[in-house]
Symmetry: C3
Amino acid sequence: MFPKNAWYVACTPDEIDGKPLGRQICGEKMVIYRGVEGRVTALEDFCPHRGAPLSLGFVENGRLICGYHGLAMGCDGHTESMPGQRVRGFPKIRNFAVEERHGFIWVWPGEASEANPTLIPLLEWAESPDWAYGGGLYHIQCDYRLMIDNLMDLTHETYVHASSIGQKEIDEVPPTTRVEGQEVITERHMENIMAPPFWRMALRGNGLADDVPVDRWQICRFTPPSHVLIEVGVAHAGRGGYNAPAQYKAASIVVDFITPETETSIWYFWGMARNFQPQDAVLTDSIREGQGKIFSEDLDMLERQQQNLLRNPQRQLLKLNIDAGGVQSRRILTRLCEAEQQATSSLIASA
Amino acid sequence: MFPKNAWYVACTPDEIDGKPLGRQICGEKMVIYRGVEGRVTALEDFCPHRGAPLSLGFVENGRLICGYHGLAMGCDGHTESMPGQRVRGFPKIRNFAVEERHGFIWVWPGEASEANPTLIPLLEWAESPDWAYGGGLYHIQCDYRLMIDNLMDLTHETYVHASSIGQKEIDEVPPTTRVEGQEVITERHMENIMAPPFWRMALRGNGLADDVPVDRWQICRFTPPSHVLIEVGVAHAGRGGYNAPAQYKAASIVVDFITPETETSIWYFWGMARNFQPQDAVLTDSIREGQGKIFSEDLDMLERQQQNLLRNPQRQLLKLNIDAGGVQSRRILTRLCEAEQQATSSLIASA
Amino acid sequence: MFPKNAWYVACTPDEIDGKPLGRQICGEKMVIYRGVEGRVTALEDFCPHRGAPLSLGFVENGRLICGYHGLAMGCDGHTESMPGQRVRGFPKIRNFAVEERHGFIWVWPGEASEANPTLIPLLEWAESPDWAYGGGLYHIQCDYRLMIDNLMDLTHETYVHASSIGQKEIDEVPPTTRVEGQEVITERHMENIMAPPFWRMALRGNGLADDVPVDRWQICRFTPPSHVLIEVGVAHAGRGGYNAPAQYKAASIVVDFITPETETSIWYFWGMARNFQPQDAVLTDSIREGQGKIFSEDLDMLERQQQNLLRNPQRQLLKLNIDAGGVQSRRILTRLCEAEQQATSSLIASA
């Protein structure tokens, strides 16, 4: 259950560097590549000639060439040419709305005519020289909503990530959740605590003492269909916490774009954006490596949780206060999916 | 098709040493661990909060802590506590009757209220200093009854284990099978033969000549649900065979506890108990290694036999005299399963 | 969808050298071995005793001995003996018509009584000292008809095999296809072109200049159920092409026997027969290695094409002129399968 008329991160630019990429998104098998003038293109991954996956082919002068018999596909899904053939009658394949923005390739797996690029979230950190970004991609066998739950309830850090970002104080401070339009915000502020290992590293990386009490914050923001951006940070205690001046804090944004592959698998684009020492590439790599390790700790849990849920479809899960972020996010998703279904139904009824 | 109201070996103590174990038994996913005061506990492997497998967590002061969000589960399936939560209304998860006895953890996957620990088989060799035991565990993709068949008809030794315990004389002496209550006994006595390699090793290990004729015996005892204990041995010929005085023979008990995981897969606990040189740990290891190798020869055959049977559900198998042990064991199992089903049906009817 | 009353290549003699082979052909699980006097035998791979696969056993004096309990199976599917048993009443297992000819083992997976060995194709190159043959076997997850399509339309060489036998001139010369009885012939003749790398090697191997223009030909011959023999070669330009005298050309026959395992998997026996330097074993090995590498380039494409087709059962594929060879071959196969089905239906109706 996922909205199809929405922008999802399909891939990063390096994944289509010099060759087409085959990827399934929201149940749709796509080939994504740089077409005419390097513009990103996404098509159904199915050659109209004999059904070969076009992603096994190559790009030549902006046209996607099928690797089986050389059919040349245009960016609109119409075959442009094929050696020795007249192609005018060839059936069109589906093309998807796709945009390259903020360092990601975004795709709209539903009705291309409804795709509005202004709905792509504005990521200021991606466009400013004051920020640096590093991230990665995991393929996980779980419903994308389990990952949203995971990110909208950071109490799991205490258990899953005990050695890096977890600490018992997270459990002790209840989060607050509010809904603002289609945005769900869950936040937690911990005062006068000692920073856990990851944040000590960040404090040192930022030239700050790491052995003094800090105020720590986590502000999770869900926006549909499945973006979770989390402001996280620590400031030397008593300097204003989240609002402390830059010289007293280490802060960053945890970036999570969760793209359903099927009903029970996802492409998970994770990363971290920071606005301190943005020019320090070694620090970027070191943070990426640390974050990658921490986030990989969730994989097994999520996949095994998914298996447990599939085996027990009748079981009701609890919805505690700590789960409010996920619960509210799911409500928005349910409404969006129902609206999509009704639109489809009335389209059929009026036909 | 397996009885659920019965004691099965769930695991060995070393498997729950310091951490919970997740294991599926008779279709039930369980987490098994040492709870309060080290007492073995078995619960449904499903956290009532969000469905995470509890077996990914850890044990703290006898309580099982969920590795996702820290729910603390009590040994009776009631949640004891959870950081920041009132847990009184949390749904209970199922707990299973479980006992630690004779060096094994036994579980009753059916109705816990019907579990009677006195039904656990008495294993004298497991409690006496005169005996030594070594064994192992195999995970096999076959119906547990195929393994019972295998163990109740040792003519297969001649073919599957030709280089260790097989010998043509096994084929030449027909076995006799009898049923005593719920026990099935198949035995074979071979007289004045040369011992095969495994038994020559055992004779030497016992300080006996290995190049003289022996009398050899195999007495297989099935008891439900799926325990097969086999008295095996050789004695110098003419000394009384099975009843020969200890100084003329090498004898032991092959131990087989077969625990269904699903309808077509098993946890197979195998081992050997001997009452000669019980203090010799090197001999124990050497026998375990030899037995492990021999028993691994059955795996491929059993799994491929299972596949063949699944592909040919309509085929009738032959029931020869050599198969009588397995056939009688299956009859007892069928009766037990039917009785269980009737009990369930009348429970439903009277409700 | 494949004819079952037809000869398929089951294996090569080396595969049954000293031990039985288990192989599924047209949905039938078979055990293939050398029985009495070394004659090839194919039986259902199912022991009538307890369903063990007979292919896990061994051959003794022409009888197949079950590796589980020693049942001795005769070449006609009747049990010959079993230790300690009377076997007269044992159910017969199915035996398949099988022939060893032209360096291959051929099997008829349908009605054995209808198997006519004269229907096995005559392979002159396999019986003549003027020819050498080398080949291999691939297991591919695709419908056997996708492989027939592949071989009956060699335009794919330009794209799939660009670095060895592909060249743009293949695309530029349209093939012609004709049907002669149950044979489909697709041919293409290219004149005055430069030879691609594989053929340059063959020219040199044949003592001919490789840097002069050549005439190149490809004559694909499909015969049911799934044999595709392809005459390929190059001759120095202007010497008569296909009909040029032997001293001006390098020619060979690409041999393809495609045996369905299931509806969507095949055993693909590929090879090359050549009539130049037949005694040169090093050349045979070098050609086999080169061909094996080239043919392996098709595997991923065929398997991914198959997956695409399974996901899109409603999609119609295009049937272009270049596809005519495959299209005509499929028509013959459809007729043969329909005829088989009607024969079965009337058999049932008259019963």
